[in-house]
């Protein structure tokens, strides 16, 4: 019987991928566990094993095809009906034994082929990167933005180095550090053991002497193990030493919910870090902001918590890619102007806000949208000025509601612009529960554009 082989989903956030290489051709026999293809995503290259036993009939998707959606048909395999299995199995086993005897020769041949393919791919990539450099405005993903910010700062200053789990040989758990080991070597791109508490403390000690570590946390959930070092050592030593010992360090990595990874791997730590004097906290949305703010963070003489987002890594933006681009920490960005209501957001909250804004525009509501970009210190000048104009405000963020950034922003607006408000400030946040696993529950726990629209209508007293 003919069985379909479908494009697999190989990570929680994977929606599509490329077929980098086929290891089989029509007519080949495969067993469960045989590698039939290499699947590549923007995060990683993964081997795809067959779960069927049978003969490949047709390869639907050609080698090198990109953007293949998860669950779409990529090949067809002829599998034996269960009753006929016994005889065929014996035959297959014998054939495999024969194949094994000749394996060495074939492996060598395969290796030659693979090398040829890799060389071509690498060459193309290099050309792409060069082309990008020559344009000042171009499409840039957040991942590329962060990667280039690190690379540019490491080229500029020999005291800058990157350390963390899988940043080197693995090329980054989320491919953010791709290519850095090759360019800067293992003295400056340092793979660490899986010991957050220890390597965070070690990096802080190095920073006390004046060199500039960039510490990658595979996700900020794992930084919980290092919280004592971040708060008690990095944030406080400049003050405790009367200004003698500062800590020029960047802690960066994905923060917030990814997709379907449940409670221990899904939370936004912005408000936790933002409450600590001595830290600066940045959470960019766009690629250009990610790049410009990370460069500023690396040049900063204080510890910076740089909160990224796994879902945003692959998102493309039009961006100024100049290597001179440095965006100062502490400045919000007014993304669009309007008179009816101010929407204040940051990080992935901006993605939902922009989605909601389309619906608001259809309803004739003109929102002024402010992307905070920096969570500590918050740019209250921009916020208060906007609220004095619109007289209404909502905040949007993915974090928990209690002691959220929105609740603090709301209190400051109340204190500084009370007489200008025509409605209470509303906070759109994630729900006050640990992140559930089930798809529908996870969706319900996160903020949605519809909830943002609903809150805007409430502060405008519209039905």
């Amino acid at each position: 019987m003919k069985t379909e082989i479908l494009m697999p989903s190989l990570s929680p956030t994977m929606e599509e991928g490329s077929l980098a290489k086929w290891y089989v051709s029509p007519g080949d026999n495969v067993k469960p566990g045989d590698i039939i293809a290499d699947i590549e995503t923007d995060k990683a290259l993964m081997e795809y094993e067959s779960i069927e036993e049978g003969t490949i009939v047709e390869l639907i998707v050609k080698e090198g095809t990109e953007n293949i959606k998860v669950n779409s048909l990529i090949a067809i395999i002829e599998t034996e009906a269960i009753e006929e299995n016994r005889n065929e199995n014996t035959f297959a086993t014998k054939k495999n034994e024969l194949l094994d005897a000749n394996k060495n020769e074939e492996v060598l041949k395969l290796a030659e082929d693979t090398n040829g393919i890799n060389a071509t791919v690498n060459e193309e990539k290099t050309i792409d990167q060069e082309a990008n450099k020559n344009k000042s405005m171009s499409e840039l993903t957040v991942r590329e933005a962060i990667n280039s910010a690190i690379a540019e700062e490491m080229r500029r200053d020999e005291d800058v180095f990157l350390m963390g789990e899988e940043v080197g040989e693995y090329q980054g758990a989320y491919k953010v550090s791709q290519g850095l080991l090759e360019e800067f070597g293992s003295d400056r791109v340092i793979d660490t053991p899986i010991t957050e508490h220890g390597f965070t403390g070690l990096a802080i000690g190095a920073a006390f002497t004046g060199i500039r570590p960039i510490v990658e946390f595979m996700t900020f959930n794992f930084a919980m193990q290092a919280l004592d070092q971040i708060i008690n050592s990095a944030a406080k030593t400049n003050y405790m030493s009367g200004g003698q010992i500062n800590c020029p360090i960047v802690f960066r990595g994905p923060n917030g919910a990814a997709a379907r990874v449940a409670a221990q791997h899904s939370q936004d730590f912005a408000s936790l870090y933002a409450s600590i004097p001595g830290l600066k906290v940045v959470q960019p949305f766009s690629a250009e902001d990610a790049k410009g703010l990370l460069k500023a963070a690396i040049r900063e003489n204080n510890p910076v918590i740089f909160l990224e987002n796994e879902i945003l890594y692959g998102k493309s933006f039009q961006a100024n890619c100049s290597s001179d681009l440095v965006i100062p920490i502490g400045k919000a960005k007014t993304v669009s102007t309007g008179d009816d209501v101010t929407i204040i957001s940051y990080g992935i909250g901006m993605m939902h806000t922009l989605e909601a804004d389309k619906k608001l525009k259809e309803m004739g509501i003109n929102a002024e949208i402010i992307d905070l970009r920096t969570i500590r210190p918050i740019d209250f000048d921009t916020i208060i000025e906007s609220v004095k104009k619109t007289n209404r405000c909502i905040t949007v963020e993915e974090s928990f509601p209690v002691c959220s950034i929105g609740s603090y922003v709301g209190s400051q607006i109340m204190i500084n612009a009370f007489d200008y408000l025509d409605a209470p400030v509303l906070n759109c946040t994630g729900k006050d529960v640990p992140m559930p696993y089930a798809e529908n529950l996870e969706k319900a726990a996160l903020i949605t554009p519809d909830e943002i629209v609903f809150s805007v209508k409430q502060v405008l007293y519209k039905d």
Partner: protein, 324 residues
């Protein structure tokens, strides 16, 4: 003869430093009792030979870092007793402008990286300072001190692993004074051989008589040489003893008065060196008396300086939260 007089001077300098720490700490205890020093105050009395011995073999540019029992380390590495006492009393003239206190003092110029209030936290930080030495390709060594109580902390072993893996020039100095606050080592540690705690990470270690400043200097010198030659970390277990309580409010119920008294009488590091100075270098009672007077004056000056210094300006509340 010239050599003998150099040696005499060197030994008398060690005596000077140990006695300075002892008298300084006694004064600190007194000022605490009078309400001039607040918060926690952990005295170093009894352990003087450890830091003085190690400091005597340090090279220019070497760093040190320790826990909150840090006054001795600061005095040993040449920090000004006046500014240390001013910090203890929360004055603007203190090393941290009065913002750090007893447990959080630093002097980058003397290579002293604190003064850390969280048990064990200074261990990965010390490994990181050593990492920076390697990164900068200098020949410095970082002496990272912690107690036998902190030696049970998880982050210590994370630091051991990386220090060995990356051959970092760090001497881990375990000051084993036998009591983690009020918990004796046997009640908290599954093994008592602190010097062997690095074996699983291929870090050599040695137990040292931490009550004898010359033994300390000799073994510390070998350990530092091991690190400086690019062989990675070394562990020194300093067997020492603290005469005073863990902090100023200590119930003293966890050990007997006799135990403390016996060690004071038989093993005191200052008395031991004094006997040697008399025996080998014929230092006279008069010279010792002059030394006592000299140190008393330094300590009195430090206390006067501190108590006559102003508290920090109230505006200092808002400075140094961030570096420029």
């Amino acid at each position: 003869m010239a050599r003998a007089s150099t040696q005499k001077k060197q030994l008398f300098d060690l005596y000077h430093k140990m006695l300075l720490i002892r008298r300084f700490e006694e004064k600190a205890g007194q000022l605490y009792g009078m309400g001039h020093i607040g918060g926690f105050c952990h005295l170093y009395i009894g352990q003087e030979a450890v830091v003085v011995g190690i400091d005597s073999i340090k090279e220019n540019g070497d760093q040190n870092i320790t826990s909150y029992r840090d006054h001795g380390h600061m005095l040993a590495c040449g920090m000004d007793p006046k500014m240390v006492m001013a910090e203890l009393t929360g004055r603007s003239t203190g090393y941290s402008k009065g913002k750090g206190g007893s447990m959080h003092m630093f002097s980058k110029s003397e290579g002293f990286y604190g003064g850390h209030g969280i048990v064990g936290a200074q261990v990965p930080i010390g490994a990181g300072i050593a990492f920076a030495n390697k990164y900068k390709k200098n020949k410095q060594v970082c002496f990272t001190y912690f107690g036998e109580g902190a030696a049970n902390q998880g982050q210590v072993y994370e630091a051991f692993n990386m220090a060995s893996l990356w051959t970092l020039p760090v001497v881990f100095v375990i000051e084993n004074n036998q009591y983690a606050m009020g918990t004796s080592m046997v009640r908290a540690s599954s093994t008592e051989e602190m010097f062997a705690r690095g074996l699983a990470f291929n870090i050599p270690g040695k137990a040292v008589n931490g009550m004898n400043v010359l033994d300390v200097a000799k073994d510390a010198s070998a350990a530092a040489e091991h690190c400086r030659s690019g062989n990675g970390p070394f562990i020194l277990e300093m067997k020492t003893y603290r005469y005073r309580g863990h902090s100023m409010s200590d119930p003293a119920k966890y050990r007997t008065r006799e135990e403390v008294q016996k060690i004071r009488e038989e093993k005191d590091p200052i008395d031991t060196l004094r006997s040697l100075l008399i025996e080998r270098h014929k230092i006279s009672e008069k010279e010792f008396k002059a030394k006592d007077a000299e140190i008393k004056a330094v300590v009195t000056d430090a206390a006067d300086f501190a108590l006559n210094s102003p508290e920090p300006d109230i505006q200092e509340l808002w400075t140094d939260v961030y570096a420029d």
